[in-house]
Symmetry: C2
Subunit: 310 residues, 2 copies
């Protein structure tokens, strides 16, 4: 079996965002229309209800751990049910939480070598003392079992694969043209399986485009947690909170001909769940037309604290 | 006038700490004995109830902004009452919150040149786009007015001064002997004044020793927020959650002959308030003997959300 706990369901900055006063952020601050605060994108997965792996470590990790009892220390004076972390890219909203995981705790941190190299270049991540924290390079397109610092298997298997995306914002290099220096491996998706019973799901919190390869890969699967950042490509501009399009940020829309609802419609995926949802996205409002549309298309909108058994 | 809002009253890791199961952390998680969660050390100060400066930016800044209405955007689609940040050292618990202050917001960030240089070496802080965020070097022992990005005065004046301390943990260099490469300016204290009426207080969240110079400086003042990390020097070891002493970490004890209660006893300071309190410190338990002792000695124990008018 696998159990998934959504620690954070929002995109970078969370919902509300600290300096955003747009419609959804305002509603969430006022607790109106059934909206609730959402922290930044991260899930935890366990195969035994005891040890958990985090998938991405958001800047909100401290409050996420406090809010979810499953993440509390269970025994001894220093303990955590968190065995390690798997990173899908180098975005601040996916790596800054590593800074919270200091204090002498054994951990294994899995990432693409591109991501490891930028963590290494940033000495602030030295708070993760190598006596306790083992940084492990993740090969692509290979199934392997996640292991804790002492190399004890977790019962969780992972296959990582590159997906269309974008280099992290803080690593963009404008001199490198319109893709800002993006390379293969800057954004990855994951197939996460139970070693025991073989059940699996996909976790793809950022994806710029549905390729044929990717569609083949996820087709027929039982569950997917997928990039739900924006309802439409120009949402930041039309909400007047920014200029960047979804494509510029490396994200597919939910709606439209080139959107994820359309792209996944005929892929025969049983449970489709949006995660990494930006605070501008109207699907965050339970009674909105857009929420109705995604639900009619067979999608759920994830929320902080959501538990899924597989 | 000055108004002080305590955003976070705990030392690094907060209380409870994520992987700590010692007495106080356990009580806080269970909500027992009047204990409450405390986030990591930071205060906000305003002279006009509209614009605020942060003093230190903790990893918990996202949740601190959400919890305190004074920090919410008040108008327009992008807005924040936060005009800037002043840093007292380069510790993760004082700088990681800068990563939360992304999203196109004008800010000025004041720090010692030592701290600016390590921020510059860590490219992850490039999320603070220089079009919006102005990094300003703070001279020591000079009174100056904090100004926002557009150089409009805040009505808050600051004088920074070096205090005995330690280089940030992630910058320690064991090859440099027992002080790990610590230099002047790695830890500073601040005198924070109202430009309007001249009232002032001291904010010294880390201090390894009370020197004669420092005692002279703070003597007779109306208020001090002072390093309350540990009750006693070997508290981490005796709580069995670590080995480091307070001295090793650059902090004075509250208690004892070399402690802050003793050192500040005869300095005629009207309001003495502990801040940056570690989760092992029994003064965090309202009904503890140690809390009684600090209160009998004229100290208050700060808490998240505490407001002080000066």
């Amino acid at each position: 079996m696998l159990k998934v706990l959504v620690l954070g369901s929002a995109a970078g900055g969370g919902s509300p965002q600290w300096n955003c006063n747009s419609h959804v952020s305002k509603l969430v601050r006022q607790g109106l229309d059934g909206t609730t605060p959402r922290t930044q994108s991260s899930i935890a997965v366990t195969s035994n209800n005891k040890e958990w792996f985090l998938f991405n470590a958001s800047p909100d990790l401290g409050s996420q751990i406090l809010k979810n009892k499953q993440m509390h220390p269970q025994k001894d004076l220093r303990h955590s049910p968190i065995s390690g972390v798997v990173l899908t890219n180098g975005d601040v909203d996916h790596v800054a939480g590593l800074l919270t995981l200091r204090e002498r705790q054994n951990l294994s941190v899995y990432a693409h070598k591109r991501v490891h190299s930028v963590l290494k270049e940033n000495s602030i991540f030295n708070v993760l003392n190598p006596d306790y924290v083992d940084r492990r390079e993740m090969s692509m397109n290979t199934n392997f079992e996640l292991k804790n610092k002492d190399n004890v298997g977790s019962g969780i298997e992972v296959e990582a694969f590159e997906v269309p995306g974008k280099i992290a914002l803080w690593l963009e290099d404008e001199s490198k043209g319109e893709n800002f220096g993006t390379q293969e491996g800057d954004t990855i998706g994951l197939k996460i399986s139970s070693k025991d019973d073989g059940k699996f799901f996909f976790y793809i919190p950022a994806c710029a485009e549905m390729t044929n390869d990717l569609a083949d890969r996820i087709s027929g699967s039982e569950m997917i947690l997928f990039d739900g950042t924006l309802w439409k490509n120009d949402e930041m501009a039309s909400s007047k909170v920014g200029e960047k399009t979804g494509q510029r940020m490396g994200h597919m829309n939910n709606s439209g001909e080139n959107g994820s609802m359309h792209a996944l419609k005929d892929l025969n995926i049983k449970n489709k769940i949006y995660i990494h949802i930006n605070t501008t996205n109207p699907i965050l409002i339970p009674n909105s037309d857009e929420r109705k549309i995604v639900e009619e298309n067979g999608w759920e909108v994830s929320y902080d604290g959501m538990e899924i058994n597989l």
